[in-house]
């Protein structure tokens, strides 16, 4: 059965915005290459860390929600994370049914917020 996962990673602030996006694209590709389907993507931008990691006090946060089957996706995704020096921290969790419902709701809220912002820009 297909399961839903959510992964958050923190990229080093040494990168530029574009480089960070590039890196995020790379991880997205690792997921899709192994047959995972991206459900949702969020870019939280440069955020302050609660405590320093590798002597950095800020980091680019990215969230990806995907659906996939089998352990292979998670294993190779985490190996890719570990091999990449740009990654400060990562966390991958499986979503249970309540979490999935929450994620769907959140996705709705986020996209609504975006459209509202866009409307504000237009008007």
């Amino acid at each position: 059965m297909e399961k839903r996962y959510e992964t958050v990673f923190i990229l080093t602030p040494v990168l530029s915005e574009d480089q960070a996006k590039e890196a995020a694209k790379k991880f997205k590709k690792t997921i899709t290459d192994l047959g995972g389907k991206i459900v949702n993507e969020e870019n939280w931008g440069l955020r302050k860390l609660a405590y320093p990691i590798q002597k950095k006090t800020t980091g680019f946060y990215h969230l990806m929600e995907f659906a996939g089957e089998g352990q292979d996706i998670i294993n190779s995704l985490e190996v890719t994370y570990k091999r990449d020096e740009r990654i400060l921290r990562f966390l991958t969790v499986a979503l249970d049914k309540h979490a999935a419902a929450y994620a769907d709701k959140r996705k709705g809220l986020v996209s609504e917020g975006k459209t509202k912002k866009k409307e504000a820009v237009n008007s």
Partner: protein, 88 residues
């Protein structure tokens, strides 16, 4: 006959009506506690960033475990501190 109502005290007895604690998750129907929302999780830790016991927050055991899990995930992602001083 002096009924209990008629008795007047010099110092009014401090009637401490204890509010019954309740689990806010069960009451408001929250089923999933998000680790990505540190502002919300801040309600369940003390000033040092330590988890508050159930005895203080009134959270049910089922949700206390979920709160703990969420706080630990948030700490890992540096959304919340492991140790802090004057968090609030």
């Amino acid at each position: 006959m002096a009924t209990p109502k008629d008795i007047r005290y010099l110092n009014p007895p401090t009637a401490e009506v204890k509010k019954k604690k309740y689990c806010r998750f069960q009451k408001s129907g929250i089923k999933y506690i998000d680790y990505k929302d540190p502002d919300f999780l801040l309600k369940f830790v003390n000033e040092q960033g330590k988890l508050l016991p159930r005895r203080l927050t009134g959270t049910s055991l089922k949700f206390q475990r979920k709160v703990a899990q969420a706080v630990k995930r948030a700490r890992h992602l540096s959304l919340m501190p492991y140790v802090a001083d004057l968090l609030k």
